[in-house]
Amino acid sequence: MEIENVTLRFGGVTALKDVSFDILEGEICAIIGPNGAGKSSMLNVINGFYHPDEGQIRFRGEHRPTLPPYRIAHMGIARTFQNIALFRGMTTLDNVMTGRVTRMRPNLMKSMLWWGSAEREESENREFVERIIDFLEIQSIRKTLVGRLPYGLQKRVELGRALAAEPSLLLLDEPMAGMNVEEKEDMSRFILDVNDEFGTTIALIEHDMGVVMDISDRVVVMDYGRKIADGPPDEVRNNQTVIDAYLGVQHD
């Protein structure tokens, strides 16, 4: 995926200013920067929720036209949200099953009668979803309404819902915000495993520099809507502009 000269404005506010970078197949790319730098907006442009005012997104080498977000989900891009966006009235299992929506082709008649391919499709997808549930170690909360789960588990269910789509590009907006050290370790392990086992390309936003340095192949640094650095973790850590803008100052 290539992001080329993307500019995004909200009225008078310019959230993104002429940002260009690539996300390479199979890598873990971290996007860091102070609050309000435009990181979330960047993900929203990538998954088609916002449309850039200038510039373009190229996906698999081709220009991507302006499409509604659900069409972009069907192209293999899944994400999680900074503020958890689970379906609160549904169980963990149903939430993760809903993530399979891009993989299922329900036939109305057969679904009404729960017949033939309808039941088979449901069972096959359930089997896949159970593997994700095992992988994320959330078996015991399968039938719990997600609204009742603690924050850390909700984040995990949300990751499960995104993984259920078997995405080729996974966008994670602050997947570890508000977690304790142990939960962060678990989450980092899940992210690395997903990348390893399924070859999923991952772009994540994260504030914890320890985590970022450990798991990412490349780091993109943003500040005031602009990209100020881009490179391997070690190089970025020693970049003077980055230290001045972000690493040197206190942040949360």
Binding site: N47, F49, P68, P69, Y70, A73, H74, A78, R79, F81, A85, L86, F87, R88, G89, M90, D94, M97, T98, G99, R100, V101, T102, M104, P106, L108, S111, M112, L113, W114, A118, E119, E121, E122, S123, N125, R126, E127, E130, R161, A162, A165
Partner: protein
């Protein structure tokens, strides 16, 4: 100690996603089915059929329909009465135009026609939500009833402006028309509602139902993970209207036999069905039945006790009914927004843990 799932193991996914995974529930369900199909038909008389059972079944069908749209997909509608009218008039036109056609097919086609009308009036939901959508569906309510009164073609130019159902039989037994016996009327409605409640259950436990619930719980997130909002909302409007149309058709053909649109399908009916699903339980098949039972039975009960036993006058009893319904809705909205079906679920959860309230 009797309500337990311990020792009940499910060894396959289809098995795990069955409707009543716990034995106790399953037994209760079979007992009720046996009573409904095997006992009541032998005991029923005209009073019980017309005052209680047949209206209960037909309103349950309408409540199921509205619950698909409002309870599962989160789209509010005040057009239920209008959509029932579409079903009733479509059924009438089909019955009179094709005298040979089976009444079951007439009712189902009436449902299909209502589904198409439902899609049309569901189009605003792609742009507006909540209060504004409610107002748009309210417009549908008034427009449709007005239409059926205004255009004589719909009532075959009859001088009274009423439509009345000719006799139709199933397996040689009359189920519509004035010679219909109580048990036949009841059994016909019961079978229709039973089959379509099962269909509603199938719809809501699969991929289609999940996409509705996703739209209900968070429409933006639903779209971002790949739910096509147009498809989800319009299919909910279509299926909901399909059920409500069939309910309207049965209300006309099997229950009243002769109707006039303004009287039978006014805005009151829209609110009645909405109250049923709020009191019974939004997003619950069982809740649709509980709500319908409650709002059909309560007036009958009040009338029997207050007017019959205690000698009050009818007007006061009716006022009391309004007060009770109003109070209940407020109570449900405050105490248990998921209705009586949820109270039952909570009670079962407590029973599972009994006598150790804190184990879990």
């Amino acid at each position: 100690m009797f309500y337990r799932e311990t020792g009940e193991f499910r060894t396959s996914y289809p098995n795990d996603s069955q409707t009543f995974p716990i034995k106790f529930d399953r037994r209760l369900y079979y007992i009720m089915l046996f009573a409904a199909f095997g006992v009541i038909p032998f005991l029923i008389n005209d009073y019980w059929a017309n005052a209680v059972f047949v209206p209960f079944l037909i309103w349950a069908m309408a409540a199921l329909g509205l619950n698909l749209l409002t309870g599962y997909c989160g789209q509010i509608s005040l057009g239920t009465g209008g959509f029932m009218a579409v079903g009733a008039y479509a059924c009438y036109k089909l019955m009179t135009a094709f005298p040979e056609m089976s009444i079951i097919l007439c009712i189902m086609f009436a449902g299909v026609i209502t589904a198409l009308v439902g899609i049309l009036f569901g189009l605003p939901s792609l742009r507006i939500k909540g209060f504004y959508l409610a107002v748009a569906t309210l417009a549908a309510q008034f427009f449709l009833v007005w239409l059926f009164n205004k255009v004589p073609w719909f009532y075959n130019y009859s001088s009274s402006g009423q439509i009345s159902a000719p006799e139709r039989t199933v397996l040689g037994v009359a189920v519509t028309g004035s010679f219909t016996e109580a048990w036949a009327k009841y059994l016909f409605c019961l079978t229709m509602v039973f089959v379509f409640a099962w269909v509603a259950r199938n719809l809501t436990r699969g991929a289609i139902g999940r996409s509705w619930m996703a739209i209900r719980d968070m429409d933006i997130a639903a779209e971002i993970i790949g739910v096509n909002p147009m498809k989800a909302k319009l299919s909910a409007f279509a299926l909901s209207s399909f059920y409500i149309g069939m309910a309207g058709a049965m209300f006309f053909a099997n229950y009243l036999g002769a109707i006039e649109a303004t009287e039978a399908f006014g805005i009151n009916q829209s609110f009645l069905v909405l109250f049923m699903i709020i009191i019974g339980g939004l997003g619950s098949i069982a809740g649709s039945f509980i709500g319908a039972a409650f709002l059909v039975l309560m007036p009958v009960l009040l009338k029997n006790i207050l007017v019959g036993q205690m000698g009050w006058n009818t007007a006061i009893a009716t006022h009391l009914e309004f007060i009770i319904i109003g109070g209940l809705i407020v109570l449900v909205l405050i105490v248990e927004p998921h209705g009586m079906a949820q109270l039952w679920r909570v009670a079962k959860e407590k029973l599972r843990l009994w006598p150790f309230p804190h184990a879990s």
